[in-house]
């Protein structure tokens, strides 16, 4: 698959189900993902498609009402799912996988100076001295574009964009192999968004970090993406190279989604997808997109497996059963 690049993360059949009052919600339902080294994978999806749950499942940030948490997660050859919590906490979390959470605005402790918070993973996980850790903080601040004076500031003294950069610095401080970004820019204005995306691109180029960028924003994500995974109702329906995905989407949902993105100099109004995503508690038996799909046919009442196209592309749709490209 990603033979061109060394494979870093391999996720197979990941499941994360929640117990709710109405039944079991299958937020992540059999997800397969691959991320290569120095690669940015964009996970696209509507609200409620399970993309944030996917991030939580990878970081093992589980709420209390987990009904099922299973599958296989390989990080650089190490199987993570079987690891006990203590080893995962001290060895993987922030050492190898770091994360920028959604709502990063409140991700900083209001009563601790930001420098200390950013330095914390080094101090706790690697036992660095305060002076050494602070030095690294200043270096990392420089990478994300935060002045060294901010080290001794408190979060409330920082603007939203600065806080976001600080949170990003916190994710980069241990030089992890993989950084998961969960909607990192959704609370920011367009200009700040653009400058954060530029920082991410530079870090990827200069430090060789891999990213999983989780977002609903097709336009912003296209800047960073090497590959795209599109989620729908807890499943990955298409996973392709970014160029292919944005120019020749394969899954009917991908096509409709790309049509709904407004473009500059476009004469006709952007399209929309009628209907609503299915309930994660009792998803339909066959293809989950069938109800809203314009090209549905008989087979769609059965659950489609992921079909491989040209080796690089996986599409969960019966239209691609023979591996032939119905596109066009």
């Amino acid at each position: 698959m990603t033979d061109a690049r060394e494979r870093l993360l391999q996720v197979r059949n990941l499941q994360l189900h929640y117990r709710t009052r109405r039944g079991t919600a299958r937020a992540v339902d059999g997800v397969d993902l691959d991320v290569g080294r120095n690669e940015a994978l964009v996970v696209l999806g509507e609200s409620g498609s399970g993309k944030s749950s996917l991030a939580k499942a990878l970081m093992r940030l589980l709420p209390r009402n987990v009904a099922r948490y299973s599958g296989q997660v390989m990080l650089g050859g190490d199987e993570l799912m079987g690891m006990d919590d203590e080893r995962f906490r001290s060895g993987v979390q922030w050492n190898r996988i770091a994360m920028v959470m959604q709502a990063a605005m409140n991700a900083l402790n209001p009563v601790v100076r930001v420098g200390e918070q950013v330095a914390e993973p080094l101090r706790v996980h690697r036992g660095w001295s305060k002076a050494a850790a602070m030095e690294r903080v200043v270096e990392t601040f420089a990478i994300v574009g935060v002045s060294r004076d901010f080290v001794t500031r408190y979060p409330f003294e920082l603007s939203g964009g600065m806080r976001q950069r600080v949170v990003l610095a916190m994710a980069l401080i241990t030089e992890p192999e993989l950084v998961i970004l969960d909607e990192p820019t959704s609370a920011l204005d367009v200009l700040t968004q653009a400058s954060i995306m530029n920082v991410l691109k530079r870090i990827k180029r200069e430090q060789g970090t891999s990213f999983i960028l989780i977002t609903h924003d097709v336009a912003t994500s296209s800047e960073l993406a090497d590959r795209v995974a599109l989620m729908y109702a807890g499943q990955v329906v298409e996973q392709s190279d970014a160029r292919d995905f944005f120019h020749h989407p394969a899954h009917p949902y991908s096509k409709l989604l790309m049509d709904s993105v407004p473009r500059l100099h476009q004469s006709e109004p952007p399209g929309y997808i009628p209907g609503e995503p299915p309930d994660l508690i009792d998803p339909p038996a066959g293809c989950r997109f069938a109800d809203r799909c314009p090209s549905r046919f008989g087979r769609c009442s059965e659950d489609p497996p992921a079909f491989e196209l040209n080796g690089e592309r996986r599409v969960r749709c019966w239209l691609h059963e023979e591996g032939t490209d119905h596109d066009g």
Binding site: L61, R89, N95, M105, N109, P110, V111, V124
Partner: protein, 361 residues
């Protein structure tokens, strides 16, 4: 360091302004009490009447004046009454004297009691109150500290085991706090002083008080058990319940989630990410609880015959002993002001947001 100096100057400024504001608050509170306890001067009329009747009675009862004709005797009574009224400044308008009272009260010159006296025989209000203060502080200090630390600790524990059987049991018991402490006190006295007589029914120390200081302390401890249990029972479950909810809310903050994602050990998360940001409200709650329970002391102290301020105030109200009532309020107002000042100060130290916004920036 320059910023440190700036911090100090800010803190000094802040302190000065807070002290002034609190002083004005105490002034107003005490003045209102003086006016109310004197019923806006109406109590003076009562006092004048009282003086007139005592004087005329004593003059009439005195055999040396029995020969005097009534004209002259009335003259004498009038003179003596006038003398006493002037002695107590009752001829001046109340509004003037109210300010005198205020000035004295603020200087903790609480005057002399009308009827009551301390156990050592002093009639100075200050002595009367200070004599009772340690008893109240001992009882309420012990009970409140116990309730506070047990409930915060238990709440932290339960908030991590939210929804467990133990958690639900504690929540189920929360309505037990609907009954006041004295209500539990009555049952405790009945059970442990009469049905199974293992503990004393009331008072603060055995009668006669033991000579040996260790035996004395033991006896006080023994007398302390039932009232403390009564107070503990009446507030522990609701206290755990509310702290648990408080910690649950604060442990779902984004920065706590972030700390978990960072893979920090759970005791560090608890101390730095849950307790530290919430320290200010926790301490406020603690100090306000200390103050708040003073008012509830009257009945509890009566039930346990505890010689504290609650009992004193109760007696003073019964005797219409205005100086003692005012004295009690003055001390209370001062304690309240000191507490609030300490709170402001602690807030400034604990919470950087207050520290900096409180300054001149």
């Amino acid at each position: 360091m320059n910023s440190r100096l700036r911090d100090f100057r800010r803190l000094g400024w802040f302190t000065l302004r807070r002290v002034l504001a609190l002083f004005v608050t105490v002034l107003i509170g005490v003045y209102l009490t003086i006016v109310i306890a004197n019923m806006g001067g109406k109590v003076d009329e009562l006092r004048k009447l009282q003086i007139r009747s005592t004087v005329s009675e004593s003059v009439r009862a005195d055999p040396s004046f029995s020969e005097m004709d009534s004209e002259k005797r009335n003259e004498l009574i009038k003179e003596q009454v006038q003398l006493q009224i002037e002695q107590r400044n009752l001829d001046e308008p109340f509004i003037w004297r109210s300010f005198d009272y205020l000035a004295q009260a603020i200087q903790l010159d609480l005057g002399r009691a009308e009827e009551m006296h301390s156990d050592t025989g002093s009639r100075a209000v200050y002595d009367i109150i200070v004599e009772r203060l340690p008893a109240t502080l001992l009882l309420f200090g012990t009970a409140n500290l116990l309730v506070f630390f047990v409930s915060v600790y238990a709440a932290l524990y339960l908030s991590r085991r939210y929804g467990s059987r133990l958690d639900r049991a504690v929540i189920g018991l929360a309505p037990s706090s609907a009954a006041p402490a004295w209500f539990y006190g009555i049952f405790l006295i009945l059970l442990f002083a009469f049905v199974v007589p293992v503990l004393p029914a009331g008072g603060m120390v055995a009668i006669p008080p033991p000579e040996d200081p260790w035996v004395y302390a033991g006896s006080v401890l023994e007398h302390l058990v039932l009232p403390v249990i009564a107070m503990f029972l009446s507030s522990i479950f609701i206290s755990i319940y509310s702290w648990r909810t408080f910690f649950l809310i604060h442990s779902s903050e984004d920065y706590v989630e972030m700390a978990r994602a960072k893979g920090l050990p759970s005791n560090l998360i608890q101390s730095r990410y849950i307790l530290r940001p919430t320290l200010a409200p926790i301490i406020t709650n603690f100090l306000l609880m200390l103050i708040g329970l003073w008012s509830g002391a009257i009945i509890l102290e009566q039930v346990f015959n505890w010689p504290g301020l609650g009992t004193l105030l109760f007696q003073a109200i019964g005797h219409r002993d205005t100086p003692v009532i005012i004295g009690g309020v003055v001390i209370f107002a001062y304690l309240l002001a000191v507490t609030v000042f300490m709170l402001d100060f602690l807030y400034a130290i604990l919470d950087p947001r207050v520290r900096i916004e409180g300054g001149e920036q």
